[in-house]
Symmetry: C2
Subunit: 198 residues, 2 copies
């Protein structure tokens, strides 16, 4: 477990000025860690509400040493751009664990998708497949509130054990905590560089 190479993938913030402007971009960050040790990093730009996050995550992985496991902080990023965990599992050949702080609410996702996206079926399919193949697992962690995980190509028990071995500061496993901080900071700097406001 100590030497497991984990690739954590996280999307950055949205620029506030382009809330309604499709086509704007933010960062998608991949951080490779060996438990608590940062080993490597790569990033790409992804479209707000686009459908390019999965493909960009695969590009990010190709920049880095091969991981033993992928961790995602969410299936959505950059608004409703989709990180498809099944495709990542298929293309990269390693298990994927999705770890979220709030219990996934598929009804809310469904409502938002049908309301705002003509291509909602393509996006919704991923949530359906996840609900079917990767039942949500409630994981108690030391710091108060639980986290929820969905595991692909790895048993729920094994996924839970792995997550717990990667906890250090807070509720999220360290690779996701670090990836989240970097994605947030990197996108904020991107918007400053571009003259937008994060």
């Amino acid at each position: 477990m100590e030497e497991l190479k984990v690739l954590a993938v996280e999307g950055g913030r949205l620029p506030s000025v382009s809330f309604k402007a499709r086509g704007e971009k933010t960062v998608l960050v991949g951080v490779l860690m060996r438990r608590f040790r940062v080993v490597d990093l790569s990033w790409r730009l992804i479209e707000i509400d686009g459908l390019d996050a999965t493909e960009k995550a695969i590009e990010i992985a190709s920049d880095l040493p091969s991981p033993d496991l992928i961790m995602l902080g969410s299936v959505t990023c950059a608004g409703f751009n989709i990180l498809n965990p099944f495709k990542l599992n298929e293309k990269l050949g390693v298990p994927v664990i999705v770890v979220v702080k709030e219990k996934p609410n598929n009804e809310a996702v469904y409502s938002a998708l049908i309301k705002h996206f003509p291509d909602w079926k393509e996006r919704w399919r991923v949530f359906e497949e996840l609900a079917e193949k990767a039942p949500i697992r409630h994981v108690k962690v030391e710091e108060g509130n639980p986290v929820y995980l969905e595991a692909i190509s790895i048993s729920g028990e094994e996924a839970e054990k792995t997550i717990k071995a990667f906890l250090k500061w807070g509720r999220l496993p360290e690779p996701l905590r670090v990836a989240e901080i970097i994605a947030k900071g990197a996108s904020r700097s991107l918007f400053k560089t571009l003259g937008l406001h994060g």
Copy 2:
């Protein structure tokens, strides 16, 4: 020491295609850490062989919680762009420690500067001031080779103690090790995004 907030600043790689092309840019990354814990991040673009790194480092600091200490992996970045530790100390009001793996060689720097830079005096002044006010301190660390440090607004002894408390994986204090990895990875991805080669 545990709770000391350290801002580590590192420049990214150079794009290989623009070795001679002044005006090209790379990233300057600032990582804020509490000992081994990544807390926040910001970045800016800086000019290869430009003179904007100090000013951009101050902008980076202004994005982040106030640090108690600055760590630099070098006084130069992005070629011969200068991170002026005296100006950082003056503007940010906290001690600065420069930690390098190779013993600083001012003769080589001087030769390169007078050969390539019409404004070499402005750049060289920083090295002169450093040699005068912050004598190089040889620090033995556990992993084989030593590191060298130059300390501003903090005694050599205190700087050495601090560096050692921040060692975890390898010879560099953790904030600099992490900042170096992020700067390298972030610049590599930048060049891919721009169609250059890092």
